[in-house]
Amino acid sequence: MPEDDGGSASTGSGTQDGDGVTEPRTQDGSEATESGTQTENGVTDGGTAGDGAGTDEVEQLPVEPTLARVRTTRRLQAVGFAVAITVGLAASTLHWVGLVFGGMVVGLVARTLPRALVAAAGFGLFVLGAFAFSLGGSIQPVVEMAPVTYLLIASAFGLPMLGALARGIV
């Protein structure tokens, strides 16, 4: 599920990405670099909050530098997605809230909220694939279980996407 953050995100102007969503600029107005020393939320690597002052610094949610680096580094992000999917999948076998959690952790690795939603949907697809695999020979009867199948598909996509909204928070 890793998304191609390529150079466009890291070297772009920071005003708008391919999703048409305004990317937050760094506190000092500089662009994030590929090295990941500065995140899209404007928090510099090392935990210091730029040169902004007062209220702005207090109201900015701190983002762990590691997470920021994961989001902006292709290889790390791929690993992050892999870990998130694995953890999410494990959680999804326990309870339906696990699907929300799975969507959340997958979404947190994504670089933007829209991409988090797409990633969560992808996670839902992955869950459905794992579910189909777990059914073995029972897959056909399950497919024929309308309207349960509608619920099944809706929950596979909807619940992770609900969790992925967390990307808009952190």
């Binding site: 209220t55 702005d56 109201e59 900015q60 949610l61 999948l89 999804s92 076998t93 326990l94 309870h95 339906w96 809230v97 696990g98 699907l99 929300v100 959340m104 869950v127 459905l128 794992a130 579910f131 777990s134 059914l135 020979g137 029972s138 009867p141 399950v142 024929e144 279980m145 309308a146 349960v148 619920l151 099944l152 929950s155 596979a156 619940l159 609900l162 969790g163 909204l165 967390a166 808009g168 928070i169």
Partner: protein, 828 residues
Amino acid sequence: MVSAVQTDVTRRGVLAATIVAGVLGISISEAGDLFEQFAPLSGSAWRAAGRERPDSLESPHGPATVTIDAEGVPHVEAEDERGAYYAVGYQHGYDRLFQLDLQRRQMRGELSAVVGDVTLESDEFHARMDFPEAARSTWEGVRETHLGPLVEAYAEGVNAAIDDHPLPLEFELLEFEPKPWTPTDCFLMEKQITWSLTGNFRALRRAVARDQLEEPVFEGLFPERMDHDVPILRIDHDHAELLGEVRGVAADGADGDPENASDGNDSNESTDARSALADWLTSFESTPGVGSNSWVVSGDHTDAGTPILANDPHLELLTPPIWYEQRVRTPETDVRGVTFPGVPFVIIGANQTTAWGVTNVGADVLDCYTYEFDDEDRYRYREEWRELETEAHEIEVSGGENRTITRRRTVHGPLLEREDERVGVAWTGLTATRTIQAVYDLGRAEGVEAAVEATRQFDAPTQNLVVADADGGTAYVVTGRIPIRRIDGEVVDGNRLFDGSAGEGEWDGYTPYGDSDWSGFVPFEEKPHALNPDVLATANQRVADDPDHYLGVAYAEPYRGQRIYDVLDDTLEGTTAGDTDLEFHRVLQTDTRDERADHLLATLLEAVDQSEAAHEGRESLEDAVETLSSWSQHMDRDEPGALLFARWLEHYREWVLEPLFEGTSLDESYAPNDWIVAELEPGSPVFEAHERSRAELMVEALRDTLEERDAEGWDGYGDWNTTSPISHPFGAEAPFLNYESRAADGSRATVNNYRVESAVGASWRMVSQPGGEAWGIVPGGNSGDYFDEQYDTQFGRWVDGEYKPMPLETPAPVDAFHVVTFTEVDDA
């Protein structure tokens, strides 16, 4: 900047709130329950999809091998019968666990504990009847016999399957778990079967009908006897020699007691009608239309020179089927056939030498008693006032308030009550019965003689049993205990309400919920028999014109019996051996010719031709007349004529009966059968109650039929006659559990029996040549597990009238669906 930050904070807050509210909202709503059940990976329902048949298991009763063939039929083989029936129990527990538990709950009056108050009325009825106590007394009688350990092993096998596997889907959907299976539960299943075949309050309902209808109308709709000449035992000069040695009926021309043969006689003018009680009880009677076909022809009329036997019981068609096919091979026997899940032994089937089948007699084995009560709620019994036996019973209700009822009993049995109306009930199934021994002995019978002997212990239900063996033997026996009633020392029939306070009509030798000695019942030798008949057919019609003893009144209309005898007579008359083969009997068993058309069609066409009303709008009826005139009289799915006739008959019944029932409490359950309606002549008092003649009603019904057909867009019979009524008990809530809806052949009057109005029909078809081939099929699949490959594999073939072979031969492992090996438990 501050504003942007505040907006950002607000946005985050909204998102956080959305997530929290979303999760909490789902959790506390019904959606949360649905996700608990159906979310991918974690949904509880999917545990059921993970059920897998084991390859090997341990058994406390020794080794056994279960080879499940390609049709899902288990072939159980063991050296020790206990090992075999442990494996049988395991198979029933694996394949039909929900069905087992649901039927048990129904008979115990415990449905509401899992489905809520919608089944409270049913639970109250079953609790008042106290079937479990009758099952317990039956098990007490069996426990110390040879069968006791086999039944115990069977129950252990069911419980092992419960313990070893995730529960079937229905348990996950309804969110409950089954209690362990007990030997008593096996006998509860026996009571359930017996009730479904013989539990009716016809006498009570007749009393209500008599009370509410004018006497001439009542006499027209409830005649003493259906005037047909095709009883099971045709002792007329033309056919008597085909019956072999006949017992229990008067010879042709002898002075019999016609009352004994009545189809609807009600000699007791009871005005003590209990309509509220009767209406309530109607809901719990045996399903209308429950019946069956069976016949046997001797080896003189088969190509192989040995008899052929056919049987198709017409019971409720459900998903999964009520029958379970199995084969059990032990040193004692090798028997294959069908049983009801919960009953260890084959009920209908064949072993190496002998085949047998059953149909319902329609015997009267339930009586209702009225009482005189005093102010202290004591009832008078003969010369004394007696206290009712009472017991508080709580009915658990899921999601509602539990209901506590007071169970009451009189000397005759349970006291059923509704709106201050009360009757005591005696029913032959409410005492200890030995039927299980008879069923077991039938499975081991080496010939007709042993099979007939086995039926001595077939205490309930009353059945027409036909049997044939590889040596050429054939027989017909009426099974079951049949009470003899007396009033003031004089024998009377049972189709009435009895004065329980006066001790009228009591059954000598009957002890409700205890051991009965049956001393006052019809002796075995005096029940109708036919030994070594050449040709004999049963289709729930009157057993005989003049039986030695009153049997009952709940006989079916004679259409199916007529058709079977007509085909057999036409084929076998004057011919020699080698006339019929198994294919001939399979074709007859799926025959769709409707004898009602012979009874009514010409009259209808004549009515259309002569009716003035018809002339006024004749154009609209001409096509219908042409369709009906050219119709083959077969109820086949693509026949437009069959559609018109079937729907016309329904409309005609409505035109005739509804005005008569208006202003009364009588509903469809009181309606007479098609034969009686067809027999109503133009001058019948029934039509005097109408403003129009019979012919006019017939034409009006045809107009209604055409309007309905056009409105519904129907073309062929199968557009209306579909299998959609065949449903799972929870098919309305979970429609995927139902079988696919298919266009079907057959009607309630055809040999190929399918009653779309009540989902009753051929619940098992079997044609067997003892010692040779046998064929059979169930309407669905042998497995009741929705996720199992064998869930519905036979359904389409059943609809199309096809069969599958049922050999006494274990398939090679490579050809098997699955093989389970049971090994001795290693105590070490």
